[in-house]
Symmetry: C2
Subunit: 667 residues, 2 copies
């Protein structure tokens, strides 16, 4: 019997849980990394539930921005007060779960403190600086953020406008924002919460610009928290999501900071203004890969939440009759509903598998690097950039599909979807805009293609398919006999073809254009090649994981993995048909495969989403609640509305009431 | 010289406007229906700008829900006070424009009063009822809404649970909500603003249920505005969009209303309880078609706004270098940016053309109906349902593409995108959930397919292609010689093929399943057929309109129309290749056609979006402002943030400040 069934639950959802043909607890363990991890999740959950400071006085949807900021500040202090409750070294697992349970889908006053400020101190300070600043940051004596992006400047760091000009007379830098477009813009927690920041500015010394460098800068007075002289800062206003955070702006009017504010692990400026260039590259691929594996985990968690809500709601919502007189059916029985929701569930599984794998690869590469082996590094960096792009986009689209599948109630904030979407879709833009990321992947792919053509390619496993010859036609006979190997070969064919299509077009364009203009003129094709590269990886990785799953889980996971792969193929039919690689009969087999997967997943749908192990506290959705008792909960939720605090609003008293009264008097 | 150029504008945007190769004023006239219409638009605009009550004290993004509700109430009274300023008979033109300028992208307290309450009174009352209620409604002596949808019941009206039981002893109906799922849920303005509603309830008399009927019901006291006895109502809480409206819930506890509360134009109940069934169908296809043509206009207006913002911003935003040393480029010069944004612009043009056409067809059909000619009615109804579905979905996706194309700033509410998206995407669900609509279209298509197979089909122009034989292969040679007729034939081929694919699968499924289960088992294929049906119409209609455009506009409109059509073809490559109808060389021609369209549209992009004639008051976007002076405006906009009212927030004083102080004391 599923552990998810309790007395008093909605009957339909209980029946769904009884229908499941596998053990959800074993599946949860498989997803999360073993029974021990599950046990720890539940310990963390009960701890969080036991602490009053983690409770929201009303659902956060009903709070104003000011209220959310205040609510989040209380929670983040409580959260960081209690970090001994979790294994701090396991941020990917326990850390993310603990933060999700306590802070929900929002950034908080110390998000950038932990994700950017502290890591930058660790990576960029010299030993003396590290002692001073890391101690302060970790003890929470200061709250820091990371101020790099400017109002007029994002991706292209070389064009940042903020200047830090060295004055050897006083041994100080003068920080200045020469224009409005130089305003630092977007950093989380900058507007109101932080009192320190790492600020990236163009370093000038002895009349020369040495490019962008990081400085640690005090922004607000320790005691009064008022902005220091010459510093203008504030909140940048409401956004599509994360409105519990005070993303901020920051302008400097000739603010003097000490020479040692420059983080000096690599570049240095001596007291007399002599610039000492860094001895070796500052680039930390490793950290970027790690941050992106966190992002992929986070995105897949959001998509899984959306799929959980839509699947559970579809099992309790009854609407319309399929057979007249037999009563209204659960909407999960409509093929169109399954076609909308189940592929999102499959994607979430695939993305979770990728997140774990990338984290493990990161560990491997880190280990290899200690032995001077850089073989995998470039490919892994490229892959993680591409994954970030594909996963965040598919996640955003998938969340909206799940929301729309819930009809009108999906539009209400009670569903949780508006918050999930607003939070997750930001991932398409931050940590590298998706198209910029794809074009970085394409640089790698074009080098690989060139290598293959010249016979000099050295490709690690991830990109090895680019150098393969492959079959000229698909080996698919019927979808019942479609092996994993053949399926992967088909996807690799499509990917390889697009890589070389882009490569050939690039070469051709280079004949009459500058290298840069040629690149731009084929960039749509390049981005397509990158998408294929990443999707091949996602399918391969998911199939590999499933192949290793225990027998009692493998059969249902296979349905999910196949749905994921078939959905990719049938969304790009042209890629398989245009060179005669597949026949339309073969493509029809794949289409039939989808319908079969939908039908096979149907009885296991609720059990599958249960297996992700969302507690209602994490899911934050009236539609997706475990017990399925959606309707009374919606009515109760609505009572919190700000507008329901009084029966008659000023809008009536001041405007609509007098209007009607006047009209009545004239009737 | 473009009328859009003014002194002090951003230099880049001015240069773009100088580049345009056509007269924007002539294009605006073509889009909106002639120079006279343009003149009237500008008169309405200056009137609205002249009235203080239409001014928002701060941008609405910074208002709480309570503040928005109050702000909207003031504006809606002013708006309806001044309806003499516009031609009330031209809701599609002047009415929608006036409302957009005054109310922005939000519903208001009287939205349903005008869109549902009054039309229902007009359609469903007998003469005596009409006299009483229409007078009150039009004079604004009452504010009404339309309460049909229930918490547990949407599309399937026959399962509504609210009951109206006739009591002949007192000649009253007793309104009751027997369960929580019977709560009326969603009606606009129901929560706080309205004092009357048309309520749809199951009519019981003499112990028999006669199905759902409309009743006019007073909800709140005329003087005090307090809910009447037995009536429980309120706001349903925040949503993804339209939060300036009090969408509401409503529960009846045995509320007695007079017999004559039943709207008696069709069905009647006599004093003794005898039910008189309606003499003929109540179905008003005409009104539904009209409402949907309004929706399509509205949706296309939102997509055009998004495309305007993204195009203008892309012309002033400079980022990255294409050629090193030549300075940062306008991001509109990136092919990937053009590929993201320009197709959205093209869609908006196509959808506007469809909206006008549907409105005109509606007039024709109405005229035909007065002569008893129903030939076009069913096809038109079907087409308008399908258009609503395709247009709202493509609009939602298009808006998000435009937003993402603006990078980080697109995520800020300063961009306008979050509001545009939240408002527009609701259209995927209301007025008939999109998939339900597509399956209605499919009913027509399956009847048509059956007729064609049996040789009995009588198809009007819209569906005539279903009965054509068509060529077995595409006549496309190169995209430079691709005629409109050949292009349309190609799309018709794809549509026809999918219609018959769905039909054949349906017939096959019917051999072993009940008709209803068979239908469900092929519903994904049915929905696909419907999408093709509508897209064929959209392309044909757009090409036809462009063919009739004046020569000096036609050349640029042709680029836009071709981009629209090619984008559809290359998004469904399989549909053209799988039966050998097109070769991959032919498909490559279409792909090349897209790149050529992008390059040709590039210099006209800003002029094209200017031609939609958005004033900044309507556009409501810092990124899309006419003058292109985006950065100072962003900084100014942010000053309005609720969080910027004081330098130090309670979140610091209560939580973060003490945390840091404590840590400092221990250092």
């Amino acid at each position: 019997m599923s552990r998810w069934i309790q007395e008093g639950d909605n009957v339909d959802i209980t029946n769904e849980r009884k229908k499941g043909t596998f053990d959800t607890e074993r599946m949860s363990a498989w997803i999360h990394g073993g029974p021990e991890v599950l046990k720890r999740r539940r310990e963390i959950l009960s701890f969080v539930k036991s602490i009053d400071d983690f409770k929201d006085p009303v659902p956060t949807e009903f709070m104003s921005r000011e209220e959310r900021i205040l609510n989040n500040a209380r929670k983040v202090v409580a959260m960081t007060d209690n970090t001994d409750q979790i294994d701090g070294s396991d941020f990917f697992g326990e850390g993310m779960y603990y933060q999700a349970l306590t802070m929900g889908r929002d950034l908080h006053a110390m998000s950038l403190h932990y994700v950017m400020f502290i890591p930058t101190l660790q990576g960029q300070t010299d030993d003396e600086q590290l002692d001073e600043w890391l101690t302060k940051a970790i003890s929470r004596a200061v709250v820091g953020t990371y101020a790099q992006t400017e109002l007029g400047h994002g991706t292209n760091l070389s064009k940042l406008e903020t200047t830090a000009t060295y004055d050897s007379a006083t041994e100080e830098f003068v920080l200045n924002s020469p224009t409005i477009t130089a305003a630092k813009w977007w950093p989380g927690g900058l507007g109101k919460s932080s009192n320190y920041a790492v600020v990236v500015a163009q370093l000038y010394t002895k009349g020369e610009c040495k490019g962008p460098h990081p400085f640690i800068v005090q922004l607000r007075d320790d005691e009064t928290h008022m902005p220091l002289k010459g510093i203008r800062l504030g909140d940048i206003g409401p956004k599509l999501g994360i409105n519990g955070n005070d993303n901020g702006f920051l302008l400097f009017d000739k603010v003097r900071i000490p020479r040692r504010a420059l983080l000096m692990r690599y570049a240095k400026v001596k007291p007399d203004g002599t610039y000492v260039a860094p001895a070796h590259s500052k680039l930390g691929y490793g950290t970027m890969v790690f941050v992106r594996s966190i992002m992929i985990k986070d995105q897949s968690t959001q998509l899984a939440a959306a799929a959980t809500i839509a699947t559970r709601y579809a099992s309790v919502r009854r609407q319309g009759e399929i057979s007249p007189g037999k009563g209204e059916v659960q909407i999960i029985d409509y093929q169109t509903q399954q076609f909308r929701v189940f592929p999102q569930m499959a994607r979430a599984f695939a993305f979770m598998a990728a997140a774990t794998e990338i984290r493990d690869l990161y560990m491997t590469v880190t280990e290899q690097l200690t032995h001077g082996n850089t073989e995998l590094l470039a490919e892994l960096h490229v892959l993680s950039s591409g994954l970030k792009s594909i996963v965040s986009w598919d996640t955003a689209q998938g969340i909206e599909q799940c929301r729309l599948a819930c009809g009108g109630h999906g539009y209400s904030q009670a569903s949780g979807f508006p918050e999930i979407y607003g939070y997750a879709v930001g991932g398409c833009t931050y940590e590298g805009e998706n198209l910029v990321m794809l074009l970085q992947v394409a640089r790698f792919l074009m080098r690989a293609a060139e290598g293959v053509r010249k016979g000099t390619a050295k490709l690690a496993d991830i990109g090895a398919y680019i150098g393969k010859t492959g079959s000229k036609t698909s080996r698919l006979t019927t979808h019942h006999h479609y092996t994993d190997a053949d399926l992967v070969a088909d996807l690799e064919h499509a990917a390889r073809k697009q890589v070389f299509r882009a490569y050939d077009r690039l070469k051709k364009a280079q004949q009459h254009l500058s290298p840069e203009d040629a690149w731009n003129s084929v960039s749509v094709e390049l981005a397509k090649a990158s998408r294929w590269h990443v999707r091949v990886y996602l399918v391969k990785n998911f199939l590999n994981k499933v192949a290793l799953a225990p027998q009692d889980l493998k059969f249902v996971l296979t349905d999910v993995a196949r749905l994921y792969a078939y959905d990719i193929i049938t969304s790009s039919i042209g890629a398989f048909l245009e060179d005669g690689y597949m026949s339309s009969n073969q493509m029809n087999e794949v289409k039939e495969g989808i319908y079969e997967c939908l039908a096979k997943i149907r009885p296991n749908a609720v059990a599958l989403v249960d297996s992700w192990d969302y507690d209602d506290k994490e899911l934050k959705s009236v539609l997706g609640r475990r017990d399925g008792n959606v309707y009374p909960a919606l009515l109760e939720w609505a009572q919190n509305s700000q507008l329901n605090r009084s029966d008659v609003l000023p809008s009536h008293t001041k405007y609509l009431g007098p209007m009607m009264k006047d009209a009545r008097s004239k009737l």
